[in-house]
Protein backbone atom coordinates (compact mmCIF):
# COMPACT_ATOMS: atom_id res chain seq x y z
CA UNK A 1 0.00 0.00 0.00
CA UNK A 2 1.27 3.45 -0.75
CA UNK A 3 0.38 6.87 0.36
CA UNK A 4 0.10 9.88 -1.86
CA UNK A 5 1.53 13.24 -0.93
CA UNK A 6 -1.84 14.27 0.35
CA UNK A 7 -1.75 11.41 2.84
CA UNK A 8 -4.47 9.54 1.03
CA UNK A 9 -3.98 5.79 1.00
CA UNK A 10 -4.18 4.18 -2.36
CA UNK A 11 -4.60 0.52 -2.92
CA UNK A 12 -5.69 0.57 -6.52
CA UNK A 13 -3.75 -0.88 -9.35
CA UNK A 14 -2.82 2.35 -11.03
CA UNK A 15 0.98 2.51 -11.11
CA UNK A 16 1.02 6.28 -11.68
CA UNK A 17 -0.97 6.82 -8.57
CA UNK A 18 1.26 4.47 -6.60
CA UNK A 19 4.35 6.35 -7.70
CA UNK A 20 3.13 9.61 -6.32
CA UNK A 21 4.49 8.65 -2.90
CA UNK A 22 7.99 8.95 -4.25
CA UNK A 23 9.06 12.47 -4.77
CA UNK A 24 10.92 11.46 -7.88
CA UNK A 25 14.25 12.00 -6.21
CA UNK A 26 17.27 10.09 -7.36
CA UNK A 27 17.37 7.84 -4.31
CA UNK A 28 13.80 6.81 -4.85
CA UNK A 29 14.39 6.01 -8.46
CA UNK A 30 17.51 3.97 -7.76
CA UNK A 31 16.00 2.04 -4.88
CA UNK A 32 12.73 1.40 -6.68
CA UNK A 33 14.70 0.32 -9.72
CA UNK A 34 16.77 -2.11 -7.67
CA UNK A 35 13.68 -3.63 -6.12
CA UNK A 36 11.90 -3.95 -9.44
CA UNK A 37 15.10 -5.28 -11.00
CA UNK A 38 15.30 -8.02 -8.38
CA UNK A 39 11.75 -9.00 -9.12
CA UNK A 40 12.53 -9.12 -12.83
CA UNK A 41 15.66 -11.15 -12.10
CA UNK A 42 13.54 -13.80 -10.40
CA UNK A 43 11.26 -13.92 -13.43
CA UNK A 44 14.31 -14.15 -15.69
CA UNK A 45 15.84 -16.98 -13.66
CA UNK A 46 12.75 -19.17 -13.83
CA UNK A 47 12.39 -18.48 -17.54
CA UNK A 48 16.07 -19.25 -18.10
CA UNK A 49 15.79 -22.53 -16.24
CA UNK A 50 13.07 -23.65 -18.63
CA UNK A 51 14.81 -22.31 -21.71
CA UNK A 52 18.26 -23.71 -20.93
CA UNK A 53 16.93 -27.15 -20.12
CA UNK A 54 14.86 -27.13 -23.29
CA UNK A 55 17.67 -25.93 -25.55
CA UNK A 56 20.09 -28.54 -24.31
CA UNK A 57 17.58 -31.36 -24.28
CA UNK A 58 16.32 -30.88 -27.81
CA UNK A 59 19.43 -32.05 -29.77
CA UNK A 60 19.61 -35.25 -27.74
CA UNK A 61 15.92 -35.83 -28.18
CA UNK A 62 16.30 -35.39 -31.95
CA UNK A 63 18.98 -38.07 -32.04
CA UNK A 64 17.02 -40.42 -29.85
CA UNK A 65 16.12 -43.61 -31.68
CA UNK A 66 13.67 -44.77 -29.02
CA UNK A 67 10.35 -43.28 -27.96
CA UNK A 68 11.30 -40.82 -25.23
CA UNK A 69 8.04 -41.08 -23.35
CA UNK A 70 7.39 -44.79 -23.64
CA UNK A 71 10.75 -46.51 -23.83
CA UNK A 72 12.30 -48.22 -20.83
CA UNK A 73 15.79 -48.16 -22.29
CA UNK A 74 18.56 -45.86 -21.11
CA UNK A 75 21.64 -45.95 -23.32
CA UNK A 76 22.07 -42.30 -24.25
CA UNK A 77 25.59 -42.57 -25.69
CA UNK A 78 26.93 -43.86 -28.99
CA UNK A 79 25.86 -43.28 -32.56
CA UNK A 80 22.34 -44.57 -32.03
CA UNK A 81 21.30 -43.42 -28.58
CA UNK A 82 18.15 -44.99 -27.22
CA UNK A 83 16.59 -43.65 -24.05
CA UNK A 84 13.14 -43.21 -22.57
CA UNK A 85 11.55 -42.21 -19.31
CA UNK A 86 8.92 -44.91 -18.83
CA UNK A 87 10.78 -46.52 -15.91
CA UNK A 88 11.58 -43.16 -14.35
CA UNK A 89 8.02 -41.95 -14.61
CA UNK A 90 6.75 -45.15 -13.06
CA UNK A 91 9.28 -45.06 -10.21
CA UNK A 92 8.56 -41.40 -9.53
CA UNK A 93 4.82 -41.97 -9.61
CA UNK A 94 4.84 -44.97 -7.30
CA UNK A 95 7.17 -43.53 -4.69
CA UNK A 96 5.30 -40.21 -4.65
CA UNK A 97 1.88 -41.80 -4.43
CA UNK A 98 2.97 -44.02 -1.53
CA UNK A 99 4.47 -41.00 0.19
CA UNK A 100 1.22 -39.07 -0.26
CA UNK A 101 -1.00 -41.91 0.90
CA UNK A 102 0.94 -42.04 4.15
CA UNK A 103 1.91 -38.43 4.71
CA UNK A 104 -1.30 -36.58 3.88
CA UNK A 105 -3.65 -38.29 6.37
CA UNK A 106 -0.90 -38.45 8.96
CA UNK A 107 0.07 -34.82 8.43
CA UNK A 108 -3.53 -33.64 8.65
CA UNK A 109 -4.01 -35.66 11.84
CA UNK A 110 -0.82 -34.22 13.35
CA UNK A 111 -1.94 -30.71 12.37
CA UNK A 112 -5.30 -31.33 14.04
CA UNK A 113 -3.48 -32.61 17.09
CA UNK A 114 -1.32 -29.49 17.28
CA UNK A 115 -4.14 -27.00 16.68
CA UNK A 116 -7.13 -28.70 18.34
CA UNK A 117 -6.12 -31.45 20.72
CA UNK A 118 -2.72 -30.75 22.24
CA UNK A 119 -2.72 -29.14 25.67
CA UNK A 120 -1.51 -25.58 25.44
CA UNK A 121 1.95 -26.24 26.82
CA UNK A 122 2.53 -29.00 24.26
CA UNK A 123 1.20 -27.28 21.16
CA UNK A 124 4.23 -25.16 20.28
CA UNK A 125 6.90 -27.73 21.14
CA UNK A 126 4.94 -30.32 19.15
CA UNK A 127 4.88 -28.05 16.12
CA UNK A 128 8.60 -27.34 16.47
CA UNK A 129 9.35 -31.06 16.76
CA UNK A 130 7.58 -31.90 13.52
CA UNK A 131 9.33 -28.96 11.86
CA UNK A 132 12.66 -30.44 12.88
CA UNK A 133 11.96 -33.41 10.62
CA UNK A 134 12.48 -30.98 7.75
CA UNK A 135 15.91 -30.08 9.10
CA UNK A 136 17.35 -33.56 8.64
CA UNK A 137 19.21 -33.60 5.31
CA UNK A 138 17.92 -35.85 2.55
CA UNK A 139 21.14 -37.81 2.33
CA UNK A 140 20.92 -38.68 6.03
CA UNK A 141 17.38 -40.01 5.54
CA UNK A 142 18.63 -42.23 2.76
CA UNK A 143 21.62 -43.56 4.64
CA UNK A 144 19.58 -44.09 7.81
CA UNK A 145 16.82 -45.81 5.86
CA UNK A 146 19.20 -48.20 4.17
CA UNK A 147 21.32 -49.03 7.19
CA UNK A 148 18.99 -48.76 10.17
CA UNK A 149 15.28 -48.55 9.45
CA UNK A 150 15.22 -50.73 6.34
CA UNK A 151 15.62 -54.03 8.15
CA UNK A 152 12.39 -53.39 10.04
CA UNK A 153 10.57 -53.02 6.76
CA UNK A 154 11.49 -56.60 5.70
CA UNK A 155 8.83 -58.30 7.83
CA UNK A 156 6.19 -55.76 6.78
CA UNK A 157 6.98 -56.33 3.14
CA UNK A 158 7.16 -60.08 3.67
CA UNK A 159 3.76 -60.10 5.32
CA UNK A 160 2.16 -58.11 2.50
CA UNK A 161 3.77 -60.23 -0.19
CA UNK A 162 2.81 -63.42 1.59
CA UNK A 163 -0.82 -62.49 2.12
CA UNK A 164 -1.48 -60.42 -0.98
CA UNK A 165 1.32 -61.46 -3.34
CA UNK A 166 -1.19 -62.45 -6.00
CA UNK A 167 -2.09 -58.78 -6.46
CA UNK A 168 0.20 -57.50 -9.24
CA UNK A 169 1.01 -54.38 -7.22
CA UNK A 170 2.31 -56.42 -4.31
CA UNK A 171 4.10 -59.34 -5.93
CA UNK A 172 7.53 -60.40 -4.76
CA UNK A 173 10.29 -59.26 -7.13
CA UNK A 174 13.30 -60.63 -5.27
CA UNK A 175 14.42 -57.17 -4.30
CA UNK A 176 15.60 -56.51 -0.77
CA UNK A 177 12.70 -54.82 1.01
CA UNK A 178 14.69 -51.73 1.92
CA UNK A 179 15.59 -51.14 -1.73
CA UNK A 180 12.06 -51.24 -3.06
CA UNK A 181 9.88 -48.43 -4.37
CA UNK A 182 7.59 -49.11 -1.41
CA UNK A 183 10.22 -48.35 1.20
CA UNK A 184 11.51 -45.33 -0.70
CA UNK A 185 7.91 -44.10 -0.59
CA UNK A 186 7.80 -44.60 3.18
CA UNK A 187 10.97 -42.58 3.67
CA UNK A 188 9.65 -39.87 1.34
CA UNK A 189 6.51 -39.79 3.47
CA UNK A 190 8.60 -38.94 6.52
CA UNK A 191 10.38 -36.25 4.55
CA UNK A 192 7.24 -34.50 3.29
CA UNK A 193 5.35 -34.91 6.56
CA UNK A 194 6.61 -31.58 7.95
CA UNK A 195 5.45 -29.71 4.83
CA UNK A 196 1.97 -31.21 4.88
CA UNK A 197 1.72 -30.64 8.63
CA UNK A 198 2.96 -27.05 8.55
CA UNK A 199 0.54 -25.88 5.86
CA UNK A 200 -2.46 -27.76 7.26
CA UNK A 201 -1.61 -26.43 10.70
CA UNK A 202 -1.61 -22.90 9.38
CA UNK A 203 -5.09 -23.13 7.84
CA UNK A 204 -6.55 -25.01 10.81
CA UNK A 205 -5.27 -22.29 13.11
CA UNK A 206 -7.04 -19.72 10.95
CA UNK A 207 -10.48 -21.29 11.31
CA UNK A 208 -12.44 -18.46 12.93
CA UNK A 209 -13.27 -19.14 16.57
CA UNK A 210 -16.81 -18.09 15.85
CA UNK A 211 -17.29 -21.01 13.43
CA UNK A 212 -15.93 -23.45 15.95
CA UNK A 213 -18.07 -22.03 18.72
CA UNK A 214 -21.08 -22.08 16.43
CA UNK A 215 -20.65 -25.82 16.05
CA UNK A 216 -19.99 -26.40 19.75
CA UNK A 217 -23.01 -24.34 20.72
CA UNK A 218 -25.16 -26.68 18.64
CA UNK A 219 -24.02 -29.50 20.86
CA UNK A 220 -21.31 -30.89 18.62
CA UNK A 221 -18.60 -33.01 20.18
CA UNK A 222 -15.06 -31.93 19.52
CA UNK A 223 -14.69 -34.36 16.63
CA UNK A 224 -18.00 -33.23 15.15
CA UNK A 225 -16.90 -29.64 15.52
CA UNK A 226 -13.76 -30.52 13.53
CA UNK A 227 -15.83 -32.24 10.87
CA UNK A 228 -18.38 -29.45 10.59
CA UNK A 229 -16.24 -26.36 11.02
CA UNK A 230 -12.51 -27.08 10.80
CA UNK A 231 -12.12 -29.57 7.95
CA UNK A 232 -14.47 -27.87 5.46
CA UNK A 233 -12.80 -24.54 6.11
CA UNK A 234 -9.36 -26.09 5.79
CA UNK A 235 -10.06 -28.22 2.74
CA UNK A 236 -8.38 -26.00 0.13
CA UNK A 237 -5.43 -25.70 2.49
CA UNK A 238 -5.17 -29.45 2.83
CA UNK A 239 -5.30 -29.87 -0.94
CA UNK A 240 -2.55 -27.37 -1.52
CA UNK A 241 -0.51 -28.86 1.33
CA UNK A 242 -0.80 -32.23 -0.34
CA UNK A 243 0.26 -30.79 -3.67
CA UNK A 244 3.24 -28.94 -2.28
CA UNK A 245 4.21 -32.16 -0.50
CA UNK A 246 3.83 -33.99 -3.80
CA UNK A 247 6.05 -31.41 -5.49
CA UNK A 248 8.72 -32.11 -2.94
CA UNK A 249 8.36 -35.87 -3.15
CA UNK A 250 8.65 -35.80 -6.94
CA UNK A 251 11.98 -34.03 -6.85
CA UNK A 252 13.54 -35.62 -3.78
CA UNK A 253 16.87 -37.00 -4.87
CA UNK A 254 19.42 -38.38 -2.49
CA UNK A 255 17.26 -40.47 -0.19
CA UNK A 256 15.74 -42.21 -3.20
CA UNK A 257 19.07 -42.60 -4.94
CA UNK A 258 20.58 -44.28 -1.91
CA UNK A 259 17.65 -46.58 -1.24
CA UNK A 260 16.45 -47.83 -4.59
CA UNK A 261 18.17 -50.75 -6.23
CA UNK A 262 18.36 -49.95 -9.91
CA UNK A 263 16.86 -52.46 -12.29
CA UNK A 264 18.86 -54.29 -14.85
CA UNK A 265 17.65 -53.31 -18.32
CA UNK A 266 16.72 -56.89 -19.07
CA UNK A 267 14.46 -57.40 -16.09
CA UNK A 268 10.85 -58.01 -17.00
CA UNK A 269 8.40 -55.17 -16.44
CA UNK A 270 6.44 -55.38 -13.20
CA UNK A 271 3.78 -53.24 -11.60
CA UNK A 272 4.88 -54.29 -8.12
CA UNK A 273 5.70 -51.68 -5.52
CA UNK A 274 8.19 -54.23 -4.17
CA UNK A 275 10.32 -53.81 -7.26
CA UNK A 276 13.43 -51.66 -7.51
CA UNK A 277 13.68 -48.82 -10.01
CA UNK A 278 14.62 -45.20 -10.48
CA UNK A 279 12.94 -41.83 -10.27
CA UNK A 280 13.74 -38.86 -12.47
CA UNK A 281 15.82 -37.29 -9.74
CA UNK A 282 17.67 -40.43 -8.70
CA UNK A 283 18.48 -41.26 -12.32
CA UNK A 284 19.94 -37.83 -12.94
CA UNK A 285 21.96 -37.78 -9.72
CA UNK A 286 23.14 -41.34 -10.32
CA UNK A 287 24.33 -40.37 -13.78
CA UNK A 288 26.19 -37.25 -12.65
CA UNK A 289 29.56 -38.89 -13.20
CA UNK A 290 28.83 -39.64 -16.85
CA UNK A 291 27.98 -36.16 -18.03
CA UNK A 292 30.81 -36.29 -20.56
CA UNK A 293 29.31 -35.75 -23.99
CA UNK A 294 26.61 -33.22 -24.83
CA UNK A 295 24.53 -36.09 -26.19
CA UNK A 296 24.57 -37.98 -22.88
CA UNK A 297 24.17 -34.89 -20.74
CA UNK A 298 21.30 -33.83 -22.97
CA UNK A 299 19.48 -37.08 -22.27
CA UNK A 300 19.67 -36.45 -18.52
CA UNK A 301 18.69 -32.83 -19.02
CA UNK A 302 15.68 -34.00 -21.01
CA UNK A 303 14.64 -36.11 -18.02
CA UNK A 304 15.23 -33.07 -15.78
CA UNK A 305 13.06 -30.97 -18.07
CA UNK A 306 10.18 -33.41 -17.66
CA UNK A 307 10.62 -33.28 -13.88
CA UNK A 308 10.69 -29.48 -14.03
CA UNK A 309 7.48 -29.33 -16.04
CA UNK A 310 5.69 -31.82 -13.78
CA UNK A 311 6.67 -30.07 -10.55
CA UNK A 312 5.80 -26.74 -12.19
CA UNK A 313 2.31 -27.99 -12.94
CA UNK A 314 1.81 -29.51 -9.50
CA UNK A 315 2.99 -26.38 -7.71
CA UNK A 316 1.00 -24.08 -9.96
CA UNK A 317 -2.12 -26.14 -9.25
CA UNK A 318 -1.44 -25.88 -5.52
CA UNK A 319 -1.12 -22.11 -5.80
CA UNK A 320 -4.34 -21.80 -7.75
CA UNK A 321 -6.18 -23.70 -5.03
CA UNK A 322 -4.72 -21.38 -2.38
CA UNK A 323 -5.65 -18.28 -4.37
CA UNK A 324 -9.20 -19.55 -4.75
CA UNK A 325 -9.46 -19.95 -1.03
CA UNK A 326 -8.28 -16.39 -0.51
CA UNK A 327 -10.91 -15.18 -2.95
CA UNK A 328 -13.76 -16.94 -1.23
CA UNK A 329 -12.96 -16.44 2.42
CA UNK A 330 -12.95 -12.81 3.31
Amino acid sequence: MTTSITGRSTIDDDPHDADRASTGRLGDRIFGGLATGSGLLVVAIVTLVGVFLLVQAVPSLMNNDANFLLSREWSPSGANPRFGIADLAWGTLVTSVIAMVIAVPLGVAVALFITQYAPRWLSRPAAATVDLLAAVPSIVYGFWGLNIAGQYFEPVAGLLQGALGWVPFLSDQNVSAKSTLAFAGVILAIMILPIVTAISREVFAQVPTTHKEGALALGATKWEMIRVAVLPYGKPGIISAAMLGLGRALGETLAVLILLSTLSPTKEWSFSIFNGGSTFASKIAGGASEFDTPQKTGAYIAAGLVLFVVTFLVNAAARIVIERRKAFSE
Partner: protein, 258 residues
Protein backbone atom coordinates in the same frame (compact mmCIF):
# COMPACT_ATOMS: atom_id res chain seq x y z
CA UNK B 1 -40.14 -26.92 27.02
CA UNK B 2 -38.75 -23.69 28.36
CA UNK B 3 -36.98 -24.08 31.64
CA UNK B 4 -36.04 -22.00 34.61
CA UNK B 5 -32.37 -21.14 35.20
CA UNK B 6 -31.06 -20.78 38.75
CA UNK B 7 -27.57 -19.38 39.10
CA UNK B 8 -26.03 -19.57 42.55
CA UNK B 9 -22.74 -18.13 43.87
CA UNK B 10 -21.15 -18.34 40.48
CA UNK B 11 -17.45 -17.39 40.25
CA UNK B 12 -15.89 -17.46 36.80
CA UNK B 13 -12.16 -17.74 36.10
CA UNK B 14 -9.78 -17.43 33.18
CA UNK B 15 -6.86 -19.44 34.50
CA UNK B 16 -5.97 -17.77 37.79
CA UNK B 17 -7.79 -14.57 36.94
CA UNK B 18 -11.19 -14.26 38.54
CA UNK B 19 -13.33 -12.54 35.94
CA UNK B 20 -16.73 -12.59 37.62
CA UNK B 21 -17.65 -13.05 41.26
CA UNK B 22 -20.67 -14.21 43.21
CA UNK B 23 -23.49 -14.13 40.69
CA UNK B 24 -26.83 -15.33 42.04
CA UNK B 25 -29.99 -14.90 40.01
CA UNK B 26 -33.02 -16.64 38.58
CA UNK B 27 -34.29 -16.58 35.01
CA UNK B 28 -37.96 -17.46 34.63
CA UNK B 29 -39.13 -19.74 31.84
CA UNK B 30 -40.69 -18.09 28.78
CA UNK B 31 -39.25 -14.72 29.57
CA UNK B 32 -36.55 -12.50 28.17
CA UNK B 33 -33.74 -11.49 30.48
CA UNK B 34 -31.30 -8.79 29.37
CA UNK B 35 -27.74 -8.51 30.65
CA UNK B 36 -26.46 -4.96 30.50
CA UNK B 37 -23.34 -3.25 31.76
CA UNK B 38 -20.14 -1.54 30.60
CA UNK B 39 -17.57 -3.33 28.42
CA UNK B 40 -15.45 -5.89 30.24
CA UNK B 41 -17.87 -6.28 33.14
CA UNK B 42 -18.30 -9.97 32.44
CA UNK B 43 -21.87 -10.09 31.13
CA UNK B 44 -20.90 -12.14 28.06
CA UNK B 45 -18.77 -14.35 30.27
CA UNK B 46 -21.73 -15.08 32.52
CA UNK B 47 -23.86 -15.83 29.48
CA UNK B 48 -21.31 -18.32 28.21
CA UNK B 49 -21.38 -20.22 31.49
CA UNK B 50 -25.08 -20.95 30.96
CA UNK B 51 -24.30 -23.42 28.19
CA UNK B 52 -20.78 -24.29 29.31
CA UNK B 53 -19.18 -22.49 26.40
CA UNK B 54 -16.92 -20.66 28.81
CA UNK B 55 -14.77 -23.72 29.32
CA UNK B 56 -14.03 -23.89 25.59
CA UNK B 57 -11.53 -21.10 26.22
CA UNK B 58 -8.28 -22.60 27.53
CA UNK B 59 -8.09 -22.12 31.28
CA UNK B 60 -11.76 -21.24 31.60
CA UNK B 61 -13.49 -22.71 34.68
CA UNK B 62 -16.24 -21.89 37.17
CA UNK B 63 -17.20 -22.34 40.84
CA UNK B 64 -20.80 -22.42 42.01
CA UNK B 65 -23.87 -23.89 40.41
CA UNK B 66 -26.13 -23.33 37.45
CA UNK B 67 -29.41 -25.27 37.65
CA UNK B 68 -31.70 -25.88 34.72
CA UNK B 69 -34.95 -26.72 36.54
CA UNK B 70 -33.61 -29.43 38.83
CA UNK B 71 -30.51 -30.41 36.90
CA UNK B 72 -27.07 -29.07 37.78
CA UNK B 73 -25.30 -28.12 34.55
CA UNK B 74 -21.95 -28.40 36.28
CA UNK B 75 -22.53 -31.75 37.95
CA UNK B 76 -19.57 -34.02 37.28
CA UNK B 77 -21.76 -36.46 35.43
CA UNK B 78 -23.15 -33.78 33.15
CA UNK B 79 -21.86 -33.81 29.59
CA UNK B 80 -21.16 -30.32 28.25
CA UNK B 81 -22.13 -31.47 24.77
CA UNK B 82 -25.61 -32.40 26.02
CA UNK B 83 -25.86 -29.06 27.81
CA UNK B 84 -25.14 -27.13 24.63
CA UNK B 85 -27.76 -29.08 22.78
CA UNK B 86 -30.31 -28.05 25.37
CA UNK B 87 -29.19 -24.46 25.70
CA UNK B 88 -28.81 -22.89 22.27
CA UNK B 89 -26.68 -19.88 21.51
CA UNK B 90 -26.56 -17.04 18.99
CA UNK B 91 -23.33 -15.10 18.67
CA UNK B 92 -22.37 -11.47 18.33
CA UNK B 93 -21.32 -11.80 14.72
CA UNK B 94 -23.47 -13.98 12.51
CA UNK B 95 -21.51 -17.19 12.01
CA UNK B 96 -23.22 -19.45 9.48
CA UNK B 97 -20.88 -22.24 8.39
CA UNK B 98 -19.34 -20.75 5.26
CA UNK B 99 -19.00 -24.02 3.41
CA UNK B 100 -22.62 -25.04 3.86
CA UNK B 101 -25.83 -24.12 2.07
CA UNK B 102 -28.67 -22.39 3.90
CA UNK B 103 -30.47 -25.72 4.24
CA UNK B 104 -27.40 -27.51 5.58
CA UNK B 105 -26.72 -24.73 8.05
CA UNK B 106 -30.13 -25.11 9.61
CA UNK B 107 -29.91 -28.88 9.56
CA UNK B 108 -26.36 -29.01 10.90
CA UNK B 109 -27.32 -29.70 14.50
CA UNK B 110 -29.82 -32.39 13.58
CA UNK B 111 -27.44 -34.11 11.22
CA UNK B 112 -24.85 -34.24 13.96
CA UNK B 113 -27.35 -36.14 15.98
CA UNK B 114 -27.71 -38.69 13.24
CA UNK B 115 -31.05 -37.60 11.82
CA UNK B 116 -30.85 -38.70 8.19
CA UNK B 117 -34.48 -38.83 7.10
CA UNK B 118 -34.56 -36.20 4.37
CA UNK B 119 -38.26 -35.51 4.69
CA UNK B 120 -38.01 -34.83 8.38
CA UNK B 121 -34.93 -32.71 7.90
CA UNK B 122 -36.72 -30.62 5.29
CA UNK B 123 -39.64 -30.26 7.65
CA UNK B 124 -37.47 -28.96 10.46
CA UNK B 125 -35.57 -26.67 8.12
CA UNK B 126 -38.84 -25.14 7.04
CA UNK B 127 -40.32 -24.76 10.51
CA UNK B 128 -37.10 -23.38 11.93
CA UNK B 129 -36.69 -20.86 9.12
CA UNK B 130 -40.31 -19.87 9.57
CA UNK B 131 -39.68 -19.59 13.28
CA UNK B 132 -36.79 -17.26 12.54
CA UNK B 133 -38.94 -15.18 10.13
CA UNK B 134 -36.57 -16.04 7.30
CA UNK B 135 -38.51 -18.61 5.32
CA UNK B 136 -40.11 -16.25 2.83
CA UNK B 137 -36.81 -14.63 2.03
CA UNK B 138 -34.82 -17.79 1.40
CA UNK B 139 -37.25 -20.55 0.44
CA UNK B 140 -36.23 -20.32 -3.21
CA UNK B 141 -32.53 -20.52 -2.59
CA UNK B 142 -32.08 -23.05 0.17
CA UNK B 143 -29.14 -24.60 -1.61
CA UNK B 144 -27.21 -21.35 -1.93
CA UNK B 145 -24.40 -20.68 0.55
CA UNK B 146 -25.48 -19.14 3.83
CA UNK B 147 -22.64 -16.65 3.61
CA UNK B 148 -24.37 -14.99 0.67
CA UNK B 149 -27.16 -13.55 2.82
CA UNK B 150 -27.15 -10.08 4.31
CA UNK B 151 -25.90 -9.64 7.87
CA UNK B 152 -29.39 -9.50 9.34
CA UNK B 153 -30.49 -12.53 7.35
CA UNK B 154 -27.38 -14.41 8.41
CA UNK B 155 -28.15 -13.69 12.02
CA UNK B 156 -31.70 -14.96 11.61
CA UNK B 157 -30.24 -18.00 9.88
CA UNK B 158 -28.12 -18.59 12.97
CA UNK B 159 -31.23 -18.27 15.12
CA UNK B 160 -32.96 -20.81 12.89
CA UNK B 161 -29.96 -23.08 13.25
CA UNK B 162 -30.12 -22.74 17.01
CA UNK B 163 -33.85 -23.42 17.33
CA UNK B 164 -33.72 -26.33 14.86
CA UNK B 165 -32.28 -28.56 17.57
CA UNK B 166 -35.19 -27.55 19.76
CA UNK B 167 -33.38 -26.16 22.79
CA UNK B 168 -34.92 -25.22 26.15
CA UNK B 169 -33.09 -21.96 26.44
CA UNK B 170 -31.76 -19.52 23.88
CA UNK B 171 -28.72 -17.41 24.71
CA UNK B 172 -27.96 -14.36 22.59
CA UNK B 173 -24.63 -12.59 22.86
CA UNK B 174 -25.19 -9.07 21.52
CA UNK B 175 -27.01 -10.48 18.51
CA UNK B 176 -27.64 -7.09 16.92
CA UNK B 177 -24.36 -5.31 17.49
CA UNK B 178 -23.14 -6.06 13.97
CA UNK B 179 -26.45 -5.24 12.29
CA UNK B 180 -28.12 -2.17 10.84
CA UNK B 181 -31.24 -0.69 12.55
CA UNK B 182 -33.75 -2.40 10.27
CA UNK B 183 -32.24 -5.83 10.74
CA UNK B 184 -32.06 -5.09 14.45
CA UNK B 185 -35.75 -4.40 14.51
CA UNK B 186 -36.43 -7.70 12.73
CA UNK B 187 -34.43 -9.58 15.33
CA UNK B 188 -36.16 -7.79 18.19
CA UNK B 189 -39.56 -8.70 16.76
CA UNK B 190 -38.36 -12.25 16.48
CA UNK B 191 -37.25 -12.31 20.12
CA UNK B 192 -40.72 -11.18 21.13
CA UNK B 193 -42.23 -14.09 19.24
CA UNK B 194 -39.71 -16.64 20.42
CA UNK B 195 -40.26 -15.92 24.09
CA UNK B 196 -43.57 -17.72 24.05
CA UNK B 197 -41.60 -20.93 23.52
CA UNK B 198 -38.16 -20.36 24.93
CA UNK B 199 -36.37 -18.96 27.90
CA UNK B 200 -34.21 -16.23 26.41
CA UNK B 201 -31.18 -14.50 27.82
CA UNK B 202 -29.71 -11.66 25.80
CA UNK B 203 -26.57 -9.63 26.31
CA UNK B 204 -26.84 -6.15 24.91
CA UNK B 205 -24.93 -2.90 24.84
CA UNK B 206 -28.00 -1.05 23.79
CA UNK B 207 -30.15 0.02 26.72
CA UNK B 208 -33.12 0.92 24.57
CA UNK B 209 -33.00 -2.58 23.23
CA UNK B 210 -32.95 -4.03 26.73
CA UNK B 211 -35.92 -1.87 27.63
CA UNK B 212 -37.77 -2.89 24.47
CA UNK B 213 -37.34 -6.64 24.49
CA UNK B 214 -36.76 -7.81 28.03
CA UNK B 215 -38.97 -8.66 30.97
CA UNK B 216 -36.11 -8.75 33.42
CA UNK B 217 -32.83 -6.86 33.39
CA UNK B 218 -29.57 -7.67 35.13
CA UNK B 219 -26.94 -4.97 35.50
CA UNK B 220 -23.31 -6.05 35.74
CA UNK B 221 -20.39 -3.85 36.68
CA UNK B 222 -16.77 -3.91 37.78
CA UNK B 223 -16.07 -2.96 41.37
CA UNK B 224 -12.91 -1.29 40.14
CA UNK B 225 -10.43 -1.83 37.33
CA UNK B 226 -8.69 -5.18 37.78
CA UNK B 227 -11.37 -6.41 40.17
CA UNK B 228 -13.78 -9.16 39.09
CA UNK B 229 -17.09 -8.16 37.58
CA UNK B 230 -20.26 -8.70 39.62
CA UNK B 231 -23.99 -8.59 39.35
CA UNK B 232 -25.06 -5.23 40.77
CA UNK B 233 -28.79 -5.77 40.64
CA UNK B 234 -31.43 -7.69 38.81
CA UNK B 235 -35.15 -7.12 38.57
CA UNK B 236 -38.14 -6.24 36.54
CA UNK B 237 -37.01 -4.29 33.48
CA UNK B 238 -39.46 -1.49 34.13
CA UNK B 239 -38.32 -1.12 37.70
CA UNK B 240 -34.61 -1.21 36.81
CA UNK B 241 -35.06 1.52 34.23
CA UNK B 242 -37.42 3.70 36.27
CA UNK B 243 -36.39 3.12 39.82
CA UNK B 244 -33.09 1.29 40.28
CA UNK B 245 -32.00 0.41 43.81
CA UNK B 246 -28.29 0.95 43.25
CA UNK B 247 -26.61 4.24 42.49
CA UNK B 248 -24.30 2.55 39.94
CA UNK B 249 -27.26 1.26 37.97
CA UNK B 250 -28.83 4.66 37.84
CA UNK B 251 -25.56 6.25 36.72
CA UNK B 252 -25.15 3.70 33.97
CA UNK B 253 -28.69 3.89 32.73
CA UNK B 254 -28.71 7.66 32.70
CA UNK B 255 -25.54 7.51 30.60
CA UNK B 256 -23.15 8.88 33.20
CA UNK B 257 -20.57 6.18 32.41
CA UNK B 258 -20.05 3.09 30.27
Amino acid sequence: MAKRIDVKDLDIYYGDFKAVEGVTMTVEPRSVTAFIGPSGCGKSTVLRTLNRMHEVIPGGRVDGSVMLDDQDLYASSMDPVAVRRTVGMVFQRPNPFPTMSIRDNVAAGLKLNGLKNKKKLDEVVETSLKGANLWNEVKDRLDKPGAGLSGGQQQRLCIARAIAVNPQVLLMDEPCSALDPISTLAIEDLINELKSDYTIVIVTHNMQQAARVSDQTAFFNLKATGEPGRLVEVGDTQRIFSNPTEKATEDYISGRFG
